[in-house]
């Protein structure tokens, strides 16, 4: 999971639960997402998974 790229589908910010769409198991699934840093990621931003918290939570950062 770590290193996978995805797209923000629910606003990611400190203190709220965001959502990202990631390619998993040959399909795409939605994962709950938290920001790896204190940045705010708006919907549509490209992200990269920096940490995976099973079963369905990831920590993400802005993709460069």
């Amino acid at each position: 999971m770590v290193g996978k790229r995805g797209r923000v589908i629910g606003r990611i910010a400190p203190g709220i639960v965001g959502e990202v769409m990631l390619p998993v198991r040959g399909a795409t699934e939605a994962f709950y997402a938290y920001p790896a840093t204190d940045e705010v990621l708006e919907v549509g931003t490209q992200i990269v998974v920096v940490e995976f918290d099973p079963p369905r939570t990831v920590y993400v950062a802005r993709a460069l």
Binding site: V24, Y32, P55
Partner: protein, 450 residues
Amino acid sequence: MLWTYLIIAAVAVVVLLILFRMVWRVAEPNEALIISGLGAHSSSEQVNETLGFKIVVGRGTAVLPGFQTVRRLPLDIRATPLTVTCVSSQGIPLHIKGVTAYKVGDDYGSIANAARRFLEQSDEQVMSTIHELFAGHLRAIVGSTTVEEMLHDRETLTTNIRGSLAGDMEKLGLVVDSLQIQEIDDESGYIKNLGRPQAAAVEAAARIAQAERDREATEREQAAAAKKAAAVRESSIAQAGYQAEVDQAKSKASQSGPLAEALARQEVVVAETETAKLNASLAEKQLESTVLKPADAEAYKQRTLAQAARDAQIAAAEAQAREVALRGEAQAKATELTGKAEAAAVQAKAMAEAAGIKARAEALATNTDAVVAQQLAEAYPEIVAAAASSFEKVGNMVVLNGAQGIEDTLVKTITMGGSGFALAKQLIDSLATKKDDEKPTLESVADESA
């Protein structure tokens, strides 16, 4: 013997197939096999500890009958309608109708969580549990959200939903695909009132727009009407102008007939005049040829004759004059000769008369009246004749007083005016010149005057 082996082999194959069919289980794409029992221990890399059961997804596996049990966990989506009565964050009571679509997560952790909670439950039980769960969550979500956010701010709503559900869903191994609020019933009329200013503003804007458009339309209509009227006016003016031109042309045309007629008549008159002139000139020529020429010829003839006569007369006169001149000369010579003789006679006579006059003068000087009276007496008949001559012009003369009247008249005639004497002298002188003429007698004068 061979047949026996063959039959045994076939039976063995059949038996093996049957056994295999009994032992082998295949997981459908939308389900997970939960196998528990002898040796069924999952060694997933995602989960460090053993699950105590084996999860098979999307493939087949041998299940030892009697030693292992297999359960199927459906992974397909389920929809649950939600109806909750709740209060918004502003404290407004609301009836919310919604729907949620959820499924068991596809990862082993979610399948394991779900299997532990829902495996042996019927669909109704699962639905009921999920419904209660979601209703509670929805109540919490609505309680932390304002009505305006619910209506307009979808991002905030979904964020709240996730924030509320995330933990529970992970516990249950469920994935919420969608949670939608379908209806919001508002007893207090908050939503209606919320919309009222907007509705009023919209209505006002609509009315304003309508009024403005109406005004604009009216202005345009009026402008168009004014333009139309102007166009009509211009058209009328133009039409009147054209009509006037047409009338003028018509009148001209109508006049052109009589005009042409008059012109024709004029031409006729001119022609007639010409004809008359020609006739006159013809007549003139005719007259000239018939009258004037002969007259001229006659005149010429006369003139020529007259001239000839005159010339003849002149010649005759000249001849006569010459003759007279010659005769005159001859006569002059004769007269000169006779004159001289007469002159001598007259001289002699004059000498004698001068002596007489001298004697008369002397007599007059001595007795004037007697001489005059004598002379008057001598010349009386001439005097009377001269006096009577003044009656010659009188057509009819009535003389009153008879013979006496005649005498008086005569006397008056003789003695009229203040110049009786002079007249008498004149008469005497004139009588002296007419001595040779026949003197009318007093009687004849008296007869004439009578």
